[in-house]
């Protein structure tokens, strides 16, 4: 059987990669992709702990369901925002959108 910590490490790696993407990419959509990766890493952890620690309860599953919902919502709104932003600035490169600058 697969040891629990394998999953955790994979999830951690996935999360770190996502983090790197979020911090380093220029294109907003790409940043969103990074966020997705991080969310998935979290979900892996949730389900893993559910499977290994409390498979008879539903807590872990319920949580990950919520995470799915949140992810869907976040992506839809995020992409809509990007499209609106693109209409406005003709770009979605985050570094070029710095109206909040001093």
């Amino acid at each position: 059987m697969i040891p629990l910590n394998w999953y955790l490490i994979v999830a951690a790696a996935l999360f770190s990669i996502g983090l790197y993407g979020v911090l380093s990419r220029k294109n907003a959509v790409a940043i969103l992709m990074g966020v997705e990766l991080m969310l998935n890493a979290v979900n892996i952890n949730l389900l893993t702990f559910w499977r290994y620690r409390a498979p008879t309860t539903t807590a872990g599953m319920a949580f990950s369901v919520i995470v799915f919902a949140v992810a869907a919502a976040e992506v839809s709104v995020g992409l809509a925002l990007f499209i609106a932003v693109y209409r406005r600035f003709k770009t979605i490169v985050t570094d070029e959108i710095d109206l909040m600058k001093w």
Binding site: K26, M33, R51, T58, M61, A72, A73, V77
Partner: protein, 169 residues
């Protein structure tokens, strides 16, 4: 080294590589496709965890909806097909360091604590049914469930509103 472990390792490698390409490839469409591959790998993880339901949901929601929406968004928000110039901002090295540190720290912690290698029990056959019941059970997760539904509704409306073309402006 059982068959499961082999499958797991293969999946892990594929997933992580795909994820890595996702965040590094300059071509955004490719990035999206790599993302899909990574997500599919995650789905396989779920399957390995005897969470078929979540595996399928993962495919439906992430690949079927989110990833395709992203492809769509990418196509909509770029003026020409190809990207030229590098897609990473100037602070990528700092980001890399951060990621590495984070990964190192978390791994160290995971290794520091003793974790079981065997599940405590088998997944009951009725787990999905239980989940369903729990989601609508007042003593269970009905409140979070409802909140999530409201959130989705809000997201729906918000998305429509935000992306609406205002003819006057």
């Amino acid at each position: 080294m059982t068959a499961m472990q082999i499958v797991f390792l293969i999946t892990a490698v594929v997933t992580l590589f795909a994820a890595f390409r996702t965040v590094t490839t300059p071509n955004l469409i490719h990035a999206a496709l790599w993302l899909i591959l990574a997500l599919a790998g995650v789905a396989v993880f779920y399957a390995l965890l005897n969470a078929n339901f979540f595996a399928v949901i993962q495919v439906v929601v992430y690949i079927g909806a989110i990833a395709i929406l992203m492809v769509f968004a990418i196509m909509l928000t770029r003026r020409e097909m190809r990207d030229r110039g590098k897609q990473t901002s100037g602070r990528w090295w700092w980001a890399a360091i951060l990621g590495a540190v984070f990964f190192a720290g978390v791994t160290w912690m995971i290794e520091a604590v003793a974790l079981p290698s065997q599940p405590t029990a088998a997944v009951p056959a009725s787990s999905i049914a239980d989940l369903g019941k729990a989601l609508v059970n007042p003593n269970g997760y009905v409140i979070p469930f409802e909140v999530a539904s409201v959130l989705l509704l809000a997201a729906l409306i918000g998305a429509v509103f935000v992306a609406w073309t205002r003819h006057n402006s």
